[in-house]
C-alpha cells in the first residue's frame, strides 16, 4: 500500500505538467466555417435568448445547463490534507469532474472559490444557479459544510449535494442494507455505533434515521467520547455545531457514557469514519460487540482496524473504503448516478428519499444469490450499476414531484445508458486518435 501510494503520487506529479489539466471544453455542434456562428452565436442566438426570456425553463432545453454541474470547493478540507486553499484544491476538483463524466456522463466544471466565509460562499454559489443543472459541493470543512448545504438546498432550484456528507452516507447506507440482510437483523432493531462525528457520519446518522433506524439506538462517538444529551460541551455544540447538538439530543436513549469501548458494548453495527488506523478501533472492543457484528472501517488510506483483525475479533461482515479489500464503501458508487438521475429529469433538488432510493438501488444491484459476507456492495467495475441507480433516482424524483420533466424507470434507464455510453465512447475515440496522449511511462 505504502509503495503503491508513493508510486501514484510520483506519477501524478510527473504527468501533471504533461497533460496540464485533466479536462478541456470541446464543442458538440458542427462548425465548418465561421459562417456557422451566425447560428451558434450572434445574430441567430438572440432568438434563442428571447425564447428563454419568454420561458426560463427552456434554459434546461436550449443550453448545456441540463447536463452541467459545478464542483465547488473553498479548499478548507481537501482529502486528508486539510485546509490547503482553493488553488491546491483544483487538481482534486478536476479529478472529481472527470469521474463525473466517466461514470455518470455528467459535465462537471471545477470551481475553486476564494471564499472561506460561509455567507460569502453561499452567496456566490447561489449566484451560479443560472449556468448549472446542479451543484456538487466538495471538501468543505465541518461544521460549516452543514450550514452551507442546508441553506443552499433550501434556497436553490437545482440539486445541491455535498459529497463528503451525502455521498459517503448514501454508500454506507447501501452497504448496511445488504449487511443486515445477511445477518437477518432489522434496521429498526439494531444498535449502531458511529465513530467520528464529522461531515460523513453526521450525514449518515441523519439518513439512517430517515431510512428506518431507531435514533435512540444510534451512538455517536467523537474525540471527546460518547455523545449524549448531558455531555458537558452540549451548550458549546448548540452554538458551534447545532447539527451534532441535535443528534446528541435524539440519539443514545440509554445515556451510555465513556469512549469507543463502551460504545461498542453490545453494538450490532460499527460505522467508523474517523481517522486513519490501524489501531483506532481495537480488537478487544470489537469482541464486545453483539453476535454477527458488522464493522465498517471507512478511514483512508488505512482503515480504523484492519479487516482481518476485525474478523478475528468476531466481526461477521467488514467493509472499508479501500478498493483492494472486499466491500468497498465508496461514494464514487453514488454521486455520478445520483446526478445522472437528477439531471435526466431536470430535478429541482435531491431529496432525502432520492438519496435513500440510490442506496437501496445500489444494494439491490447485488443479486440475492451472490450476496455474501465478502460481497455486500457492487464494485465500480460494472458500469451498469450506475445506470440502475441513476434510473431509480430519476424515478423517485418524478414520483415526488421534484422533476421538471418526469420519467419512469425505463425511460430514465434508456436516457442514462445513452449518456454514459456516449461519454465512454468519446473518450475511447479521443484516446485512439491520440487527441488524448497515451500515459507517458516514467
Amino acid at each position: 500500500m505504502g509503495v503503491e501510494l508513493e508510486k501514484s503520487g510520483k506519477d501524478a506529479v510527473r504527468v501533471a505538467p504533461y497533460y496540464a489539466g485533466k479536462y478541456e471544453i470541446v464543442p458538440k455542434i458542427p462548425i465548418k466555417s465561421l459562417r456557422d456562428f451566425a447560428v451558434w452565436y450572434t445574430p441567430g442566438v438572440a432568438s434563442v435568448s428571447k425564447a428563454i426570456v419568454e420561458s426560463p425553463k427552456l434554459s434546461f432545453e436550449y443550453t448545456s445547463r441540463w447536463n452541467t454541474i459545478a464542483v465547488v470547493t473553498d479548499g478548507t478540507r481537501v482529502l486528508g490534507l486539510g485546509d490547503i486553499g482553493p488553488e491546491a484544491a483544483m487538481p482534486v476538483m478536476e479529478g472529481k469532474a472527470v469521474i463525473f463524466k466517466y461514470l455518470g456522463g455528467v459535465d462537471a466544471i471545477p470551481i475553486c472559490l476564494n471564499a472561506r466565509e460561509p455567507e460569502k460562499f453561499i452567496e456566490i454559489v447561489k449566484a451560479l444557479e443560472p449556468s448549472f443543472g446542479g451543484i456538487n459541493l466538495e471538501d468543505i470543512e465541518s461544521p460549516k459544510c452543514f450550514r452551507i448545504l442546508d441553506t443552499l438546498r433550501e434556497s436553490m432550484q437545482i440539486p445541491v449535494w455535498h459529497d463528503d456528507q451525502l455521498g459517503t452516507a448514501s454508500a454506507t447506507l447501501a452497504g448496511l442494507i445488504n449487511a443486515l440482510k445477511i445477518v437477518g437483523k432489522k434496521m429498526s432493531d439494531v444498535r449502531i455505533t458511529l465513530l467520528g462525528a464529522g461531515a460523513s457520519n453526521v450525514a449518515t446518522a441523519r439518513i439512517l434515521e430517515k431510512a428506518g433506524a431507531d435514533p435512540g439506538k444510534l451512538i455517536l462517538v467523537d474525540s471527546r467520547g460518547i455523545l449524549h444529551a448531558e455531555r458537558d460541551d452540549m451548550d458549546e455544540l448548540m452554538l458551534k455545531n447545532p447539527w451534532k447538538y441535535e443528534l446528541a439530543l435524539k440519539t443514545n436513549r440509554e445515556r451510555i457514557t465513556g469512549g469507543i469501548a463502551e460504545a461498542l458494548e453490545g453494538a450490532d453495527v460499527l460505522i467508523a469514519a474517523s481517522k486513519p488506523g490501524p489501531g483506532v478501533v481495537k480488537k478487544e472492543w470489537v469482541r464486545r460487540m453483539n453476535n454477527d457484528a458488522i464493522v465498517f472501517a471507512l478511514a483512508n488510506p488505512v482503515p480504523e482496524i484492519w479487516p482481518w483483525d476485525a474478523r478475528e475479533a468476531g466481526a461477521r461482515i467488514v467493509a472499508t473504503g479501500r478498493s483492494d479489500f472486499p466491500n468497498q464503501v465508496n461514494n464514487s458508487l453514488i454521486f455520478p448516478s445520483v446526478f445522472r438521475g437528477a439531471l435526466d429529469v431536470k430535478a429541482t433538488t435531491i431529496t432525502d428519499e432520492m438519496m435513500i432510493r440510490a442506496s437501496q438501488a445500489l444494494a439491490e444491484y447485488v443479486p440475492e444469490h451472490k450476496l455474501s459476507e465478502d460481497y455486500i456492495i457492487p464494485t465500480m467495475d460494472d458500469w451498469r450499476v450506475y445506470i440502475h441507480v441513476a434510473a431509480s433516482v430519476a424515478e423517485q424524483a418524478s414520483r415526488q414531484g421534484v422533476a421538471r420533466t418526469p420519467l419512469n424507470y425505463d425511460e430514465a434507464y434508456v436516457k442514462a445508458v445513452k449518456l454514459i455510453a456516449r461519454a465512454r465512447s468519446i473518450l475511447e475515440r479521443l484516446m485512439k486518435d491520440k487527441f488524448i496522449k497515451p500515459f507517458p511511462e516514467g
Binding site: 444529551a229 448531558e230 452540549m234 451548550d235 458549546e236 448548540m238
Partner: protein, 159 residues
Amino acid sequence: MTTVTFRKATLNDLDRLVDLLIRQKRLNEEFDPLLRLREDIAETGRKYLEEAIMSENSLVVVAEADGRVVGFLKADIKERLFYYPKTEGNIVELYLLPEYRRKGNGVKLLEYAVNILKERAEIITAEFPSLNEIATRFYTNLNFRAIISTYARETIIKK
C-alpha cells in the same frame, strides 16, 4: 414526554446545582471573552448556591423531571434605594439542560419563580450577559426590556 415539575431547592440539590451553574457559566463564556471561568468555580459556586438556598433574601427553584433536577433559577430580593417601585426580584441565574429546552419549560420555570417573588417584589428584573443572544431572546419574548446596562473594558487597554 416526561413532565417537568418545579419546587424550591434544598441543600440536597447542591451537587446537581453546582453542575448546572457551571454549565450555565460555561455557556456565558462562549459568548464573551470577558467572562472567562475561574478555576475555583466549583467551590465558589457551591458556597454561593448554599448561601442562596439558606438566605431569606434569595430564591432558588429547581425544575425536576423523572426525579432529577434538570434546571434551576436563582433570584435575589432587593430594595431599590432611589426608585419606585421599591422592591425588586432580580433573576441572576436561569439554566435548563438542553433536552428540556424549546418545550416551554423555561417560561414555566420563570413563572413559577415570579409567582413566589411577587409576594415580596413589585418589579422583576433579569441579569444576563449582553452577548448571550439566547437569554436576550428569551426575556424579550416575555416582555422584558433593557433598563440598565453594564459596560465593561479591561483596566489597561491593549493596543
